[in-house]
């Protein structure tokens, strides 16, 4: 019986090996074929709606400054994951920049920029309805 259980385990490994090798060869090929941007954004590709938005935010907001991600609940772009999770993704991607409610930088996903008053100056906007604004207080 001992030998039988070991034989079953050996057989299970042997039968699974080809698929396992095939799977990680495919994974390696897919990872290798990714563009630099797709690889860098990775999990955020389903979330951020526009890759340029995160790069624009990272390039324009100084590392020691703060930002706020404002998301309109009816933001039409992106995926189902965008509205609930885009703020989380920016928090990961933009560190060491800190999120803050009263931040001078607004990353706006279909939000109402007027609520920030006339001091909000749009520095970048995309066709997807994403805007980066700087607030002068």
């Amino acid at each position: 019986m001992v030998a039988l259980l070991v034989a079953v385990a050996t057989l299970a490994v042997a039968l699974s090996l080809p698929k396992t090798f095939r799977d990680f060869s495919n994974d390696a090929a897919q990872n290798d074929a990714l563009s630099f941007v797709d690889r860098e954004i990775a999990g955020g590709n389903e979330v951020v709606a526009d890759q340029q938005a995160v790069y624009q935010a990272r390039a324009r907001i100084p590392e020691d400054d703060t930002y706020h991600v404002a998301v309109g609940s009816d933001f039409p772009g992106g995926s189902d994951l965008t509205v609930p999770f885009v703020e989380s993704y920016y928090r990961y991607f933009l560190m060491p920049r800190r999120p803050a409610d009263d931040a001078p930088w607004i990353i706006c996903y279909g939000c109402d920029l007027e609520q920030y008053g006339s001091g909000a100056k749009v520095v970048w906007e995309s066709d997807e309805g994403i805007t980066i604004a700087r607030i002068r207080r």
């Binding site: 079953v8 385990a9 699974s16 994974d27 560190m95």
Partner: protein, 577 residues
Amino acid sequence: MTAHALAGLVLLNVLFLVSGAGLLWFLRGWETWVDLARLAGLAYLAGVATVGSAWVLLLILGVPFSLWLVVAVPATVGLIGLIGGRSLGRQRPALGSIGARRGLVVTALGIAAAGLLLEGFFRSARLSGLEAWDAWSFWIPKAKAIYFFGGLDEQFFTTLPGSSYPPLVPVLDAAAFQLMGGVDVVTLHVQFWLVGVGFIWALAGLLSERAPGWMVWPFVLLPLVASRIGERLSIPEADLLLDYFFVLASVLVVLWIVDGARWRLVLATILLCGMVLTKREGLLLGALLLAAALVASARQWRTTWPALGVSAAVVVVVAAPWRIWYVTHDVAGEGPAEGFVQRDNLEWLWPSVRRALDVLWDTGYWNLIVPLAVGALILAALARVAVLVVFFGTLLVFLTLGGIWATWVFSKPWITGELGGNFIIRFMGSVALLCVAATPLLLSAVWRAATADDEREEVRGRVALAAAIVVVPLLAYPLLTLIGGLPRFPTRGECVHVATRDADDLEVVYGRLDDPVAAEELLGKLTRTGFVGNDLAPDNCGRWKVSYDAIATLAEGMALAEAAHKAGFDARVEHER
């Protein structure tokens, strides 16, 4: 993604190995270098647990996390091990011999197969983007916070999801960032792959003390081909690291009960400390492990229970500071929000039982690991292999009950088997890996009881054959892969394709800039100088490219670039692809 980052990771992991090897020299000594090689994986993971726990405790005390700390802690642990070992009169290891037994060839086959699989996992890990949800949602942000701000930054550590989760994994990530020279979340996958390699090595090394190679290797290989384990080997999350610590601690504890070697319990205690600082489930797993040990060692309770009590006390002392930190920072606790016993939700209890057992028996997740372990347990029970059966049987029952309870109070059973929504799939990973370790131990005990297996017969020429079996495929696979081209280290420069021949995708590129404002300024300056019709657009590498693409031939592009040079601009003819 750079060779420098990979070299930094190698250094970090050598530090873990050296510190763990020093520690084991202190605890048990190294009789031979062969002995050290066999247990190198265990030494490495002991180093990860010891050094990681020390980093966590120092961070909680407010010591800034710096490159100096990253290097000093493992060096100190290793040094303490060496000095402690010397003071105990430990001898330098002798060379030792791997022998030329019949089982050597089987062991060589096992090492070769595991090595090939791990090489394959390395290929896919090296260029992985950070796809795992929890990784970018909170594990890596916590690591970045430690790296950028030098400690447990209050803003991030109190507001990120999973705020009460202990920070051992983020600390390990932050240490990797320090030695990689930056936040390289792509290469970080290799760190987790290395920990996986360490675990496979540690498990095989420990099991081979008690079981012959033909019993050990099929079960050591099984998790690598089980989808829920093998495919997640390099994901930068805490689940598998917790499982590794738990499984090795379990094996060490049961072997300590069997042979009384005290170093095993000390090492298990170190791994238990790592567990309670890795994930909140570590508290539950640790408690269940110690409870199973109490049951299995009840016959020798006068000697074993006090030792287990000391072990538990040490773990509590190590676990406490993190819990004090988050309580004093107003972070919600690790327990279920609606209480540990939810009498109002008793109707969810039976569905929770179903859910837990369904997951445990799902061969799609764990291949045949669990049914084979149950078979081994029954065989061992019939053969009256008392301690091993009682320990593993009790622990598996406790773990299953723990998984049912956790599903009942945390996840709610109506939530489907989706990983993100249901705690039980992650939790049962520890059960499956425990089964991997338990089965060869149980089977070998049955085998020893039934046969007088003598593997000591020396067979001439076996060492050379075994060496060839290991070395040839492990070298051949990467060499065959390299025939397709040298390894790539992608950088932002990969978007630059300098033109050397005529093509229909030529363009003159005036610059690729990280700053879009600077790119706009360059565009304006070009226009004012008379170079009109240019585009400003993002390239595929996260930079902004200023270019002119109305180029018919390479010669035309070269002429334009030459004119731009004379006007003081950088310019180059490239392919647009």
